[in-house]
Symmetry: C2
């Protein structure tokens, strides 16, 4: 939860799939946890929900973003593929480009707000 005014950025694909901060955070949680179930727990999300989001991301890409190893009912380990790493990196690059490119307009909007915040 971010408690100050910020820009929310999402990539809306022609297919209807949307890749925003939530899916990127899930990919990063999979990288840290080494599994979809572990990532789901870290993000307080059911395994089913996490799996469906990963499946949605994988289907949108030519190469999957997450590779899973066979396992039990809850699946084996999961890792980010080079495509997954690239997607995460590009998303963060877009975020940082956007913050610097739109900074002055963003600050101008903040001056219009009821409770201008200090940065």
């Amino acid at each position: 939860v971010v408690a100050r005014t910020h820009l929310f950025i999402r990539i809306d694909l022609a297919t209807g799939v949307r890749i925003g901060p939530g899916k990127i955070a899930l990919l990063e949680a999979i990288r840290s946890a080494g599994s979809i179930s572990g990532a789901g727990r870290a993000m307080r999300m059911s395994y089913r929900k996490a799996w469906l989001l990963v499946d949605e991301i994988n289907r949108a890409l030519q190469e999957p973003a997450v590779a899973t190893a066979p396992g039990g009912a809850k699946g084996g380990g999961a890792t980010l593929t080079p495509t997954g790493e690239q997607l995460v990196r590009l998303y963060h690059e877009i975020e940082s480009e956007v913050q610097s490119a739109a900074g002055s307009e963003f600050r101008a909007i903040e001056t219009l707000l009821c409770h201008p915040e200090k940065h």
Copy 2:
């Protein structure tokens, strides 16, 4: 409805109010229609829904974005105030800054997609 991959940008205020393409389009529709009810019709939105969105925007700002004239049950005319015009202009400036600043990363993401689009 945009049928190609695009960046979705929204300004999430600390108060929880979110200003994205929908609210900006509503403000522009009010400018065109000269009333909240007319803007609601143009956007296939109930008067109540349009009014609530305008109220949410107005409450988030030091000066309202939309000024309304007294009228009947459905309200009188409505116009964008200088603050409203400024908000719309700044939002579009952010959009265009973002598209040019993040263009190369955005195109790199498109090459990862299942059905790369031509631009």
